[in-house]
């Protein structure tokens, strides 16, 4: 009985894992095919993830192996009053 229960739970876990994988794949596709550029950065401003629209915007074919920083493309400070998320995200969040 316990074995059967364990098997069922394992099956449920596998199904949930497959569903999760499918959803992840689905959202990854959505993220990559979004018409607007999207990036995920860490607190140093390093680009962790980006989609095709972003790569196209910054003139790249694929995400480079080396670290890519969004503020590397900035040559001037954002407008006064704006939140500077390009160069100093860590400081802005007080970390």
């Amino acid at each position: 009985m316990e074995l059967s229960q364990l098997r069922d739970e394992l099956d449920d876990s596998r199904r949930e894992s497959a569903t999760l994988q499918s959803l992840r794949q689905h959202y990854a596709e959505l993220f990559d095919t979004a018409p607007v550029a999207c990036v995920t950065m860490d607190l140093l401003g390093r680009v962790l993830e980006c989609n095709s629209a972003f790569l196209e915007l910054v003139g790249l074919n694929a995400k480079p192996a080396a670290d890519l920083f969004l503020h590397g493309y900035c040559v001037q400070e954002p407008k006064a009053g704006s939140w500077n998320i390009c160069s100093e995200p860590r400081e802005l969040f007080g970390q």
Partner: protein
């Protein structure tokens, strides 16, 4: 959180807007930022284009030689007045920014009319134009033409207008009107003087002709008496002289009678009435033996349409035209005339007299209606040259026209164009 910044990619600036979202409720949980990077190039280009359009439109409005205004239909308060207002009305831009109404600058007597037009425009929203007077900053009064329209912009009804200074045009119109009035007065005065002169001349002519007849008839009578009593003692030459004398006095008497008739036709007081043409024609033919066969064959194409005219003058016209037809016939051919009427569909009736006579050359067809004009002189066609002049004058007095279509040797078609009875 958002920020706008240009990114430089391969030396080219791309304006972007960064929209960032953070995960986690506490700052301490913050590890990553999820950022959407929006390319603002097209939006900024659109903004620039819009700004340029506005700038171009403003420049265009400023160059219009009139004042462009916009007003709130509820309060009639001006929300825009173009800089030309300074030139046209003497009030600068700062003045209008104080929340003025257009109506308050309209000349007092025209204010109600303008307010009414603006209210009507608000209700009907139909483009309209109105001319009125305005008071300038220096208190002088000018005339303006204001073309107004209404339109809904951003869910709000607005009134618009373009005001053009028409003072010079109005002044010119006024001068023209005064000159025209003066001219009209002068023409009236001259016409009155001319009428008086013509009337005097006609009276003189009538009096002269009338007074001429008595001595003329006396000369004629005594010449005839003398001839009768001396006839047996006269030689052939003296007899011929007497005959010439008598026939000359007879011709002169005819001429004087015709001149009197013409003057009478010109002066007679007329009251135009419907005339039964068939009856008048029958009476003329029966009363004049020379208009009966074999002197002339008259063929009337009945029914003849009635006309509006004067019976006595119409009788005169008909007898003169028929007498001419009887007189000017071709040698060896019996004179004949066909009479008919034609409805001209313009409240006019044309009466035709078509004869088989000698005809009239085109170059003579106009002058035959003047006094003393004779195309065929001599003994064969005796006359005074007054017959058709009397016809023309009589038709003119009956508010009609006269004319002829003819060619030498092919007869003549005289016509009288007279008003129809209902005209």
């Amino acid at each position: 959180v958002t920020c706008e910044v240009p990114l430089v990619v391969k030396g080219k600036e791309i304006p972007v807007q960064l929209i960032s979202m953070v995960k986690g409720k506490n700052r301490a949980d913050l590890r990553v930022l999820q950022t959407v990077v929006l390319d603002m190039t097209e939006q900024l280009q659109a903004q620039e284009a819009r700004a340029k359009t506005q700038s171009d439109f403003k420049a265009l409005v400023d160059t219009i030689q009139g004042v462009v205004w916009e007003a709130d239909p509820a309060t009639l308060e001006l929300t825009y007045v173009s800089p030309q207002a300074d030139r046209v009305l003497g009030y600068g831009q700062a003045y209008w920014d104080r929340g003025m109404t257009w109506e308050s600058h309209v000349f007092r007597d025209d204010r109600e009319r303008v307010a009414l037009a603006m209210r009507k425009l608000s209700n009907d929203r139909v483009e309209t134009a109105i001319e009125y007077r305005m008071v300038r900053a220096d208190r002088s009064v000018i005339w303006v033409n204001n073309r107004m329209s209404a339109a809904v912009l951003g869910n709000r009804l607005r009134l618009f207008g373009v005001v053009i200074d028409i003072t010079d045009r109005k002044r010119a119109e006024e001068e023209l009107r005064m000159a025209s009035d003066q001219l009209e007065k002068r023409v009236d005065q001259r016409t009155s003087e001319l009428r008086e002169t013509i009337s005097d001349l006609e009276a003189f002519s009538y009096s002269l002709s009338h007074d001429l007849r008595a001595p003329l008839r006396s000369m004629q009578g005594y010449a005839q008496l003398l001839f009768n009593s001396l006839n047996s003692t006269l030689d052939a030459t003296a007899r011929m002289y007497f005959q010439r004398l008598i026939s000359s006095t007879e011709r002169l008497d005819c001429l004087v009678k015709d001149v009197l008739k013409f003057t009478q036709v010109s002066r007679e007081h007329l009251e135009l009435r419907p005339v039964d043409l068939e009856r008048v024609l029958a009476e003329v033919i029966n009363n004049y033996p020379v208009l009966l066969p074999p002197s002339i064959q008259v063929d009337v194409k009945k029914p003849l349409l009635p006309v509006r005219g004067h019976e006595a003058l119409l009788t005169q016209c008909i007898s003169n035209l028929l007498s001419n037809a009887a007189k000017f016939h071709r040698a060896g051919e019996s004179p004949a005339v066909k009479i008919s009427t034609q409805d001209l569909k313009s409240n006019k009736v044309r009466v035709w007299f078509e004869d088989n006579g000698i005809g009239i050359a085109p170059q003579d067809q106009r002058r035959i209606f003047s006094m003393f004009e004779r195309v065929y002189g001599g003994r064969q066609y005796e006359g005074t040259g007054m017959g058709l002049a009397i016809v023309a004058k009589a038709v003119q007095r009956m508010e009609g026209h006269v004319g002829v279509e003819s060619a030498i040797g092919q007869g003549s078609k005289f016509w009288l164009e007279l008003p129809a009875p209902g005209a």
